[in-house]
Amino acid sequence: MSKEKIRQVLKEQGKFSTDIDSLSDDADLYEAGMTSHASVNVMLALEDAFDLEFPDRMLKRSVFESINAIHAAIEELSA
């Protein structure tokens, strides 16, 4: 459920050159074309969609590198 919501955010903000639906949950989003600039927009949109705030310690490349990684971060914050 929340992975679908993450996909939706990525679709709107990730600026991918490829179809996001063709990416697996563990595909590298940076390899798929997400820039640092786009990743900030993804972070903002995720904070809005899930009504949470990522602490600074989570604002790093590895936390946003795949749908699974983002999902794990959100789970940790919602726990």
């Binding site: 940076y30 074309g33 820039t35 640092s36 600039h37 903002l44 600074d56 310690r57 790093k60």
Partner: protein, 387 residues
């Protein structure tokens, strides 16, 4: 070679091979051949390469100090040294366990290859993290054509380290880093390098056509290397160059004020007050470079270097601030030194001339434009909380 002797050697090279030619290098926009030859002779181009591969195993701190030492005499020599070391550090940190690169680093120690960076490209708007050109693989061989807006010392370099899209269908941010060898590339110069300062870096645009073996395509994505190594190391080594340039200007002002004091003992010359302010400005610049250097060396040596704070956006913001602050301070320092020495600093043929320092120093804010960096920071601040 012992570490402290590296610094001693750099001092001798700066004095005997960089300083005597600095004005001619600047005037004629020519490559500082004598200084670079001396650096090769003393094996300083491989200083960072680990001892087990034949290098001197120097630390980043030592390289920053060498940049400052060279930068006090000739900013172009310092900048060429800095840019080369950025390439070497990237190879050591991200490819030293790969057989092809391991051999290359050993060969670099032996032959002192000078490596130039090819990150700029027509059509990407100065953004290092985007490429248009792509690696084309054909069996075990690749070919690559890149239309570079600038390649510093391209014509004088031995080898090139090039960014390109990983393959023909890769997104423009999905980049690889590829080392291409002198025998395997051609450069067609597409323009001139006739600038205000940093003239000796000889950085015109070139069309590069290269080929090689697929082993030369580094495995780690450039994006990972960029955040963790290339960007911070660049800002720190450039910081050393800028400290050298600023110190050269300040030392001229100090000498000028001492001269005034000697001609009239018993009174403190009015310029001494301005000098006191100036030395404080230089100290702030030195402190901020040093603080970031110490922190980087700690973070990069930590066990979580690959996934820890170095790849955080809080750290990017901090290094970007170092770059912007230092490069804004540098011209202000030189201009203040100029105002202390007055007309003698304005004259080109005086020993207090600030012309070269000022023109060199003005490049700092443009070399990776500060507005681009501030725009990045503005974006990062939308999510950073300082929590």
């Amino acid at each position: 070679m012992q570490s402290s002797s590296l610094i001693q050697t750099a001092r001798l090279i700066a004095k005997d091979f960089a300083a005597p030619h600095a004005d001619a290098v600047d005037r004629d926009a020519r490559f500082p051949q004598a200084a670079i030859d001396a650096l090769k002779q003393e094996k300083l181009l491989s200083a960072y390469i680990p001892v087990e591969l034949g290098g001197a195993g120097a630390s980043l701190s030592e390289l920053v100090e060498i940049c400052e030492i060279l930068g006090r005499q000739c900013a172009a020599t310092a900048m060429i040294f800095a840019m080369h070391q950025i390439q070497v550090i990237t190879l050591v940190e991200h490819a030293a366990d790969h057989p092809w690169y391991r051999q290359y680093l050993q060969d670099l120690v032996k032959h002192q290859y000078l490596i130039a960076s090819v990150t700029s490209e027509v059509g990407v708007g100065g953004e290092m993290r985007r490429s248009r050109c792509a690696v084309e693989l054909n069996g075990d061989q690749f070919s690559l054509v890149k239309d570079a807006t600038t390649i510093s010392y391209g014509a004088q370099a031995d080898d090139l380290l090039v960014t390109a899209r990983r393959h023909a269908d890769a997104a423009n941010s999905d980049q690889s880093l590829i080392l291409v060898r002198k025998a395997d590339y051609t450069l067609e110069q597409k323009g001139n390098w006739d600038t205000m300062g940093m003239r000796g870096t000889c950085s015109p645009p070139f069309l590069m056509t290269a080929s090689g073996h697929r082993d030369q395509i580094m495995e780690v994505p450039f994006g990972d290397m960029s955040a963790r190594t290339v960007v911070p190391v660049s800002h720190l080594l450039w910081g050393g160059c800028w400290l050298g340039c600023a110190t050269a200007a300040v030392n001229k002002a100090r000498s000028f004020v001492r001269g005034q004091a000697r001609s009239n003992p018993g009174t403190v010359p009015p310029t001494a007050l301005r000098l006191a302010e100036l030395v404080s400005m230089l100290q702030s610049l030195r402190t901020s470079v040093q603080a970031c250097l110490t922190e980087y060396e700690q973070l990069s040596a930590a066990s979580d270097a690959a996934t820890g704070p170095l790849s955080s956006i809080a750290y990017s913001l901090k290094m970007n601030n170092l770059k912007v602050d230092a490069t804004q301070a540098l011209p202000q320092i030189v201009i203040k030194a100029l105002s202390i020495c007055g007309i003698l600093a304005y004259k080109n043929d005086s020993k207090f001339s600030m012309s070269r320092h000022l023109r060199d120093g003005l490049s700092a804010a443009l070399m990776v434009g500060n507005d681009r960096i501030l725009a990045t920071n503005a974006n990062l601040l939308l999510v950073l909380k300082d929590d």
